[in-house]
């Protein structure tokens, strides 16, 4: 039951981009086309799940026992950066086709603040390892959902006439605002 509520909460109620404002840069940057946003979403799901697994393990079994939890910012960012590198190298060897699809998005993820933010939040919420992994995965699914929705709308906006000053980022942000307004409708779905 707890797991189901974590999943619904992370995907719909407290959507990572539209309600928590994490990962806005890739959200605005790669939402021009549906195809690129699917690639980015896949890469984020992959890395965020792994990152939450590794950072929770490191926090629980290394940082807490030796009492250096104040080092978590430095540790987590280095772990995530090297994790992305490792994933890139392994993927290149094991599954070249998947690497082709996700390849160019992987380095971008290091600067995706959602990955670090969710890892920090999972620790703050005191999730156990399983819950933390589920939280990471479903947050990433929520990110992908918002990204693909915005990309679909932006493809349509390209075709209509829009005031000159509003083209590009401004209209994308206002669209995102309306999407966020729609997602607020999920607020009553579960009690936390």
């Amino acid at each position: 039951m707890e797991i189901i509520s974590i999943i619904i909460f992370a995907i719909l109620v407290n959507n990572v981009v539209l309600a928590q404002f994490l990962g806005i840069c890739p959200f605005l940057g790669v939402s021009n086309k549906i195809s690129t946003s699917v690639g980015m979403g896949g890469a984020v799901i992959f890395v965020m799940t792994l990152a939450n697994l590794v950072t929770t393990l490191i926090y629980k079994y290394i940082l807490v026992p030796i009492n250096v939890t104040f080092m978590q910012i430095i540790t987590f960012i280095l772990v995530i950066a090297s994790l992305v590198q490792i994933v890139e190298i392994i993927l290149k060897k094991v599954s070249p086709s998947l690497y082709q699809a996700l390849g160019i998005y992987l380095p971008l993820i290091t600067t995706n603040c959602a990955v670090l933010g969710i890892a920090l939040l999972a620790v703050q919420k005191n999730y156990n390892v399983l819950n933390s992994v589920i939280y990471g995965a479903s947050t990433a699914v929520g990110f992908t959902l918002a990204l693909i929705l915005l990309a679909g709308i932006r493809e349509q906006i390209e075709l209509v006439q829009c005031p000159k000053g509003m083209r590009g980022f401004p209209i994308a942000l206002i669209t995102a605002g309306l999407l966020s307004l729609a997602f607020m409708g999920f607020a009553g779905l579960i009690k936390v």
Binding site: F21, N112, P170, L181, M184
Partner: protein
């Protein structure tokens, strides 16, 4: 002459938030009130200033291949300092900014300035650049925070302009208001820049 140019570059011409659209996450997330906006602006400016100084000073010793990890460690160190200091001296602000203080590490403005400016320029110019960029970021945040607090809560810096039972547009302190305000602010900046040919 050129020194002043470094300082003013970040204010309007290359304003990190409104023109380059970097560091968007804190811009949207913490600007529910003018107080939060100023707190975030100062914290980020401090980290930017310190990391710019250190990176400019050590630029000849950092090997090119490992420069990005080195920059991240330097930035993360200062963010940890800011995080602990704010937790001790401004607990309320620390609580309302929440996870966005540790997230200064991945603020693209800081790594961007390290990569694009500090590693190529002298310490003095890097200080000016950091102050200019930090100020530009703080001003943009303050504008966002003031607009959202005024429309959503009827106040600026907790000073009420309307009576307590007046209806305000609550939407603006909720997430959708952040996106909409930011969108209009960028459009406004674009038009000002075009009109005055900056």
């Amino acid at each position: 002459m050129s020194a002043i140019k470094y300082l003013t570059n970040g204010l309007l011409k290359e304003n990190p938030t409104l023109v380059l659209v970097l560091g968007t996450c804190p811009t949207l997330a913490v600007t529910t009130s003018a107080n939060n906006a100023i707190g975030m602006g100062i914290a980020t400016t401090f980290v930017l200033l310190c990391s710019n100084i250190l990176i400019a000073a050590f630029k000849n010793y950092i090997p090119n291949k490992v420069r990005i990890p080195s920059f991240i460690v330097i930035i993360a160190t200062f963010v940890t300092i800011v995080n602990l200091v704010m937790q001790a001296y401004t607990p309320d602000l620390h609580k309302s900014l929440g996870v966005f203080i540790p997230l200064i590490v991945v603020n693209c403005i800081i790594l961007g300035r390290a990569e694009a400016f500090a590693q190529k320029n002298s310490v003095f110019h890097s200080i000016l650049d950091a102050i200019g960029m930090g100020l530009g970021f703080t001003i943009a945040l303050l504008a966002m925070g003031s607009i959202r607090e005024l429309l959503g809560n009827g106040s600026i810096f907790n000073y009420k302009f309307v009576s307590n039972d007046a209806k305000t547009i609550l939407l603006f302190i909720m997430p959708p208001g952040a996106f909409i305000t930011y969108g209009f602010l960028i459009a406004l900046t674009n038009n000002i820049k075009k009109k005055f040919n900056i």
